[in-house]
Amino acid sequence: MTTEKLYFYPVWLRVWHGFNALGILVLIVTGISMQWSIDSPLINFSLAVKLHNIAGVVVSIGYLLFFAGNLFTVNGKFYRVKPKGLGKRLVRQARYYLCGMFKNEEPPFPLSEKRKFNPLQKYSYILVMYLLMPLVVITGLALLFPELIIEEVYHLSGIFLTAVFHSALGFLISIFLIVHLYVASIGKNPLKNYRSIVTGWHEINH
C-alpha cells in the first residue's frame, strides 16, 4: 500500500473556506435566534441582528473570492457540469454510501489528481455554491437595504416574500452543512478530511 499526497486545497481556497465556515455557523445560530426570537442573555435580538449582518457581509465577500478563484484558477474545472450519464453516476455513488461501503467494496469513483470530488459531492457543491449561495447572498443584501425592495407584490410585502425565501434558503444550507460535515468524516480516519482542508494536503492510499 502506497500513500500519495495530493495538494487539493490551495491557500486561497482554504482561506475562503475558513471564513465561510465560521461565517455560516454564526449566520445559522443568529438566524435561528432571530427567526424564533430567542432573546437569551447570550445573544439578544439586537446583537443577533448585528452579528448576522456582519457575518453576512463577510460570507458575501468570501463568496466573491470563491467565485473569482474558480473562474481564474484550475480549481474551476472540478465544478464543470457533465450531463452525460450523470444520473447513473449519482446513483452509483449513492449506492456505495448506502450499502457498498458497508460491504467493504472499493469506492466507484476513487479520488485522484483529476477527480477531487465524487459525483454526489461534486453536484451538491455545485448546487450549493452556484445556486443556493448566490440566492441567499442576493436576498440577504436586499434585506440589509430593505428600502430597495419592491414594496408590494399582489398585496404581499416585497420584504415578506424576500425574507421567507431567504429563510428557506438558509434552512437548506443548514441541512447541507449537516450532511457536508458528516460526509467529510467518512473514510478510514474521520478527521483526515478536516486536516486536509486546513493543511491543503490530501492523502490517498492505494
Binding site: S37, D39, F45, S46, V49, H155, L156, F160
Partner: protein, 313 residues
C-alpha cells in the same frame, strides 16, 4: 333619431356631472369659501381704501388652510365662523380677534353621547398623565396633535397599515421635526430623532411600519388609541416586544378591526395578507414543525449511517 342622440347626450352629461359632483362630494360651506379666497392661497388681494387700488399681498404660510385636507377632515361641513369669531368676515381683521378663545375638543364633544365610541373623556384623562401635559401644561392642547381643520380618524377607518402609520406619525413629526412648532410649547431645542433612535437598525423602515405611539405609550386595551405618552425612560427598547410570536403589535397596531377585515382567513390568511414582514413574529407553526422534522430527519440519517459504519466495519 336626432332626439335620441340628444337624449343620450343629455343622459351622459347628467352622469358625468353627477360623478364630478360625487368626487367633490363635500361642497364647502359658503362661509368657508369666503375665507378661503384669501386663506386658501399663497397670495390674497385686498382693496386698499387709502390708495383706492387693489393690491396683491403674500399670505403668511402658517395661515394658509390646505383646502384638500380640509375637505376630508371631520369638520369639513363647518363654516370657519362656526369656530372662529364672525368678526373675521371683515378684513383687515380686528387686532383683538387674536385673543379669541377657541373651543377645545372637549368643549364640543365632552359628555355628548353621539361621540361616546370615541371616549373623549377617557382620552382626556390619559392625555393629562402624558409627559407632554405634565411638562408643558395647558399650552399643550389636543389641537397640537389634532389639527381641528384637517383631522380624520385614520386608525379607525383605514385598511392599510402604511396609511395609518404615516398619518399617525406625521402628527408627532409635525412638531418634533419642526423647531418653530416645538418651541410653541417648549424653550428647548427639539432632539434630533434620527440620533435619539440611532440604536434602532433600519430606522427608516421601522418608522414607516410602526407608530411612534407603539413604543412611547402604554397600550390600553379599552382605548382605540393610547394617549398616555410616557417619559423616554419607559419607551420600548426591547426588540422582542415586537419581534416575537406574541408581538405587542398584535395588541396595538394590528388590533384594528378595519385591518383584520382584510385578513380573516385563519393562520394562512394572516400570513398571506401580510403587508409587512416582522422578523420573529411571522412564525407559522406548521412550517416551524416541518423544518424541525426535516432537521431531525437529517440528523437521524447521519446517526443511522454512522451506527452502520461503526458496527459493520
Amino acid at each position: 333619431m336626432l332626439n335620441l342622440i340628444r337624449n343620450v347626450f343629455a343622459f351622459v352629461l347628467l352622469v358625468v356631472s353627477l360623478s364630478v359632483n360625487s368626487q367633490e362630494s363635500r361642497p364647502l360651506s359658503e362661509g368657508a369659501l369666503h375665507c378661503l379666497t384669501c386663506h386658501g392661497n399663497q397670495t390674497y388681494t385686498l382693496q386698499n381704501p387709502w390708495t383706492g387700488q387693489e393690491e396683491k399681498r403674500l399670505m403668511n404660510p402658517y395661515f394658509i388652510i390646505d383646502t384638500t385636507h380640509y375637505r376630508t377632515g371631520v369638520h369639513r361641513t363647518f363654516s370657519c365662523t362656526d369656530c372662529h369669531a364672525t368678526d373675521y368676515e371683515t378684513y383687515p381683521h380686528a387686532a383683538e380677534l387674536k385673543l379669541e378663545p377657541l373651543s377645545t375638543c372637549l368643549d364640543c364633544h365632552g359628555g355628548d353621547d353621539t361621540y361616546a365610541k370615541y371616549q373623549f373623556e377617557r382620552i382626556d384623562e390619559e392625555f393629562q398623565k402624558s409627559v407632554h401635559f405634565v411638562k408643558s401644561g395647558e399650552s399643550f392642547t389636543c389641537s397640537k396633535c389634532h389639527n381641528q381643520h384637517y383631522y380624520k380618524p385614520t386608525a379607525r377607518n383605514s385598511s392599510t397599515v402604511s396609511e395609518i402609520v404615516s398619518y399617525n406619525n406625521a402628527m408627532c413629526l409635525s412638531c418634533h421635526n419642526n423647531l418653530a412648532r416645538f418651541q410653541l410649547v417648549s424653550d428647548q431645542q427639539n432632539p434630533v430623532l434620527a440620533q435619539v433612535h440611532a440604536w434602532l437598525p433600519n430606522q427608516e423602515l421601522h418608522f414607516r411600519n410602526v407608530r411612534c405611539i407603539e413604543c412611547h405609550t402604554q397600550v390600553t386595551d379599552t382605548l382605540m388609541v393610547s394617549h398616555n405618552i410616557l417619559s423616554k425612560e419607559h419607551a420600548v427598547q426591547k426588540c422582542v416586544e415586537c419581534h416575537s410570536s406574541n408581538s405587542m403589535l398584535k395588541a396595538s397596531l394590528y388590533k384594528y378591526q378595519n385591518l383584520q377585515a382584510r385578513s380573516g382567513k385563519g393562520a394562512l390568511g394572516a400570513v398571506l395578507q401580510n403587508e409587512s414582514y416582522l422578523i420573529g413574529a411571522n412564525q407559522v407553526p406548521a412550517l416551524k414543525l416541518l423544518s424541525i422534522l426535516i432537521f431531525v430527519a437529517a440528523l437521524a440519517g447521519v446517526l443511522l449511517h454512522s451506527v452502520f459504519r461503526f458496527t459493520k466495519k
